[in-house]
């Protein structure tokens, strides 16, 4: 059974360690993630007390920040910041993909757009999980990473649009039927709930807490990952880089220790807040 072939042990990995680091995310992408998760935590922290306004902790949380007026203000503030970040990201994509004619934005191995390989990967990955086949070799973005991306992308459009529809209800009512305002709250709160449950459980585990990355995948903070991690997590991309002779171009520098420490503090805080909100949500939901 080739799929059960032993991978190198930790000591062997260490022996093989090249000490080389490769770039995965650009500075802009890391900033985008930072803005995204901090505003998302803000939106979740202020949105949940509204969604579950009958529960005890909602009262406490509302009181702590100065009542529901303050909560709503903070919610709108985070929404605005996130909207701007989202628009910048979309503009960046179109600039790179259409104006600069950069390859691999809308299709190909490096694109976020799903392809046939992703469908096969889902199937094979799950076969591997239950011991029925070899582990698929992933490219630059694995299918669950693409799903995360598109879930957030779709979520921001849906939650954002319904949110603004409620914020500027009389304006939106000029071209939306009245029941759409009712639907806006249902959509906003359900999609928000989905985002919160998904990010704070699935994304946290898939990206950070699973054994391969435990306790946290630092690449989104530092932008670089070790050669071993690169090869282990995305063997197909690694192989392609070597094949195309581009591996050296991706060489980055090891992150400074203080930066990693700082990033860990921020990251663990975010995960802690997220898990707390997850517990609160679940208690309110199954009350």
């Amino acid at each position: 059974m080739p799929e059960l072939e032993l991978e190198p042990t930790e000591t062997e990995v260490k022996k093989e360690a090249s000490g080389r680091f490769f770039n995965r995310f650009t500075r802009e992408q890391r900033y985008l993630h930072a803005v995204l998760f901090s505003t998302f935590l803000g939106l979740a922290g202020t949105g949940l007390p509204l969604r579950f306004s009958e529960s005890i902790w909602a009262r406490g949380l509302a009181g702590a920040v100065g009542g529901f007026g303050a909560i709503l203000f903070f919610h709108k503030f985070c929404a605005l910041v996130l909207s701007v970040a989202f628009l910048i990201h979309v503009k960046e994509i179109f600039t790179r993909g259409i104006f600069r004619r950069e390859k691999g934005i809308f299709w190909g191995a490096t694109s976020m757009v799903a392809n046939w390989k992703d469908a096969k990967d889902i199937f094979n990955h799950m076969r591997w999980m239950v011991g029925l086949g070899p582990k698929p070799e992933f490219e630059r973005y694995a299918y669950w990473e693409k799903f995360d991306y598109w879930a957030v992308f779709w979520g921001m459009i849906v939650i954002g649009f319904s949110g603004y529809a409620m914020w500027f209800a009389p304006f939106f009512a000029r071209f939306l039927p009245g029941w759409a305002l009712n639907a806006a709250l249902v959509i906003h709160s359900e999609e928000g709930l989905l985002a919160i449950l998904f990010i704070f459980s699935i994304h946290f585990v898939n990206t950070h807490l699973r054994p391969d990355s435990f306790p946290m995948d630092m690449v989104i903070f530092t932008g670089v990952e070790s050669e071993e991690e690169f090869r282990h997590k995305r063997p197909q991309e690694y192989a392609r880089m070597i094949r195309e002779g581009k591996l050296e171009q991706r060489l980055g520098t090891a992150p400074a220790a203080w930066f990693v420490t700082g990033a860990k503090v921020v990251g663990f805080t975010a995960i802690f807040i997220g898990l707390t909100l997850l517990v609160l949500t679940l208690t309110a939901y199954f009350r």
């Binding site: 032993l6 991978e7 190198p8 042990t9 930790e10 000591t11 007390p49 509204l50 969604r51 306004s53 009958e54 909602a58 009262r59 509302a62 009181g63 100065g66 009542g67 529901f68 007026g69 303050a70 909560i71 709503l72 990955h125 799950m126 591997w128 999980m129 239950v130 011991g131 669950w144 879930a151 409620m166 209800a169 009389p170 304006f171 009512a173 000029r174 939306l176 039927p177 009245g178 029941w179 305002l181 009712n182 639907a183 709250l185 249902v186 959509i187 359900e190 999609e191 709930l193 989905l194 449950l197 998904f198 459980s201 699935i202 585990v205 898939n206 699973r210 054994p211 391969d212």
Partner: protein, 423 residues
């Protein structure tokens, strides 16, 4: 006795002293003399004797330390008594069984009824009928220091009434021992209590404005001003316009037609702890009150942003029931006078939502996303969102759990390969 003796000597001096007084008197006819003398005698007899009756008693009872055999004070403050409303009476007008001195050790209890028959008869049929538990003095204060109710010294002066009633109707006091609610602290914190205690507003409602004074009846008694169907009229004695509005509205009609489930003033405003309706506390406490009857409306309201934003107090501006439906003059939505009738919606919603138009007011503040017939579009939107949420989470929870198990399995295998030290 010395006072009386001095009085007699004084009169003798006035009458007998000057010679011309006497000679004038001597020149009178018998009849004239007799009438003048009897007139004097009358004055001499009456004037000092009335005072003498109080003074006689006060000679003993003026002693502040005087007590009866049981140790109760039986002293009377003569100055206060003479200033009181009963100051012109003689002691035995009330203590009628005392004819002479010395009087028996045991004297009868004074019966106020002998003069105040009306009040006494009202009291007998009231909740305070037991004269043993509720003697007149329990409200009117010390029997020898009773002032008219218009006098600020009176225990039943409007500004003093709550405190007087509060002696019993307060925390841990007599009434609460008998299982009656403590109302005094609620009243004092109410808008009426504030007007009375802070502003000294004499017209502010005090206890007896609503409950009456001598003829207080239980609120269960249909004749009581606090009986449910009488409450609008009782409050209306001051709040006349609001009573008119209320009587014209749906609740007023219902109560007038004998439906005692419909709310009256106190159902929303409470009886004693009445708050200023613009206060956040009132705004948050009243929605559930409407909802105690209009259950389906409350539950659908709870699903809306109005409720979510406003349910915890800090944000009081969001629409509550009466912001849209009106407070006192509530009409059904089909009535053109109702603020939620079709023709008035743009104006009503526009009070908060500047720029509200005909499309905007199609918004349903009581939509039910679980009712396919009533709100089909909303029903399917919710269904889609629920299915999306359930399917995404179900798939990924299974996916993630399997992945975790498999990854951990591999990890342990890798580590156990190293002599099991890292497992």
């Amino acid at each position: 006795m010395t006072k009386a003796a001095r009085f007699v000597a004084f009169f003798v001096a006035i009458v007998a002293g000057p010679a011309d007084w006497l000679s004038t008197l001597l020149r009178f006819t018998r009849l004239q003399r007799a009438s003048v003398i009897s007139l004097f005698a009358l004055v001499v007899f009456l004037a000092p004797h009335r005072l003498a009756a109080q003074t006689d008693c006060l000679a003993c009872h003026g002693d502040k330390t005087m007590q009866d055999a049981a140790g109760h004070s039986i002293s009377v403050d003569g100055d206060k008594f003479s200033a009181s409303i009963h100051g012109s009476l003689q002691c035995n007008n009330c203590h009628a069984d005392i004819k002479q001195y010395p009087h028996p050790d045991h004297v009868a209890k004074v019966d106020c009824k002998s003069c105040h028959a009306d009040e006494a008869s009202k009291l007998t049929s009231s909740v305070h009928s037991s004269s043993k538990e509720h003697p007149c003095t329990s409200c009117h204060g010390n029997a020898h220091e009773i002032f008219p109710k218009t006098d600020a010294r009176s225990a039943v002066y409007p500004l003093n009434v709550p405190k007087t009633c509060g002696q019993c109707h307060s925390d841990g006091a007599m009434a609460s021992k008998k299982g009656l609610p403590s109302v005094y602290p609620h009243y004092m914190d109410s808008i009426h209590g504030f007007a009375l205690s802070k502003e000294g507003l004499l017209v502010a409602a005090n206890c007896q404005s609503c409950h009456g004074s001598h003829g207080i009846l239980s609120h269960k008694d249909p004749a009581s001003p606090t009986y449910k169907s009488n409450i609008p009229k009782t409050c209306g004695t001051c709040h006349a316009k609001i009573n008119d509005d209320y009587q014209a509205g749906a609740h007023g009609h219902a109560v007038a037609s004998g439906n005692l489930k419909a709310p009256v003033c106190t159902d929303c405003h409470t009886a004693h702890a009445i708050l200023q309706p613009t206060e956040s506390e009132f705004r948050t406490q009243s929605t559930p009150i409407c909802g105690s009857c209009h259950k389906d409306k409350l539950s659908t309201y709870r699903d809306t942003f109005h409720s979510q934003l406003g349910s915890l107090g800090g944000y009081v501006e969001t629409a509550r029931c009466w912001d849209c439906h009106g407070a006192h003059e509530i009409y059904p939505a089909s009535d053109p006078r109702s603020p939620v009738s079709k023709a008035n919606l743009v104006k009503t919603c526009g009070r908060c939502h500047t720029g509200a138009n005909l499309s905007f007011v199609q918004y349903q503040p009581h939509a039910n996303a679980h009712d396919r017939k009533l709100n089909p579009a909303l029903f399917y939107v919710r269904l889609f969102m629920n299915l999306l949420l359930a399917s995404v989470l179900t798939f990924f929870v299974i996916h993630t759990i399997l992945w975790l198990i498999r990854s951990r399995f591999d990890q342990v295998r890798r580590k156990s390969a190293n002599g099991g030290k890292d497992a």
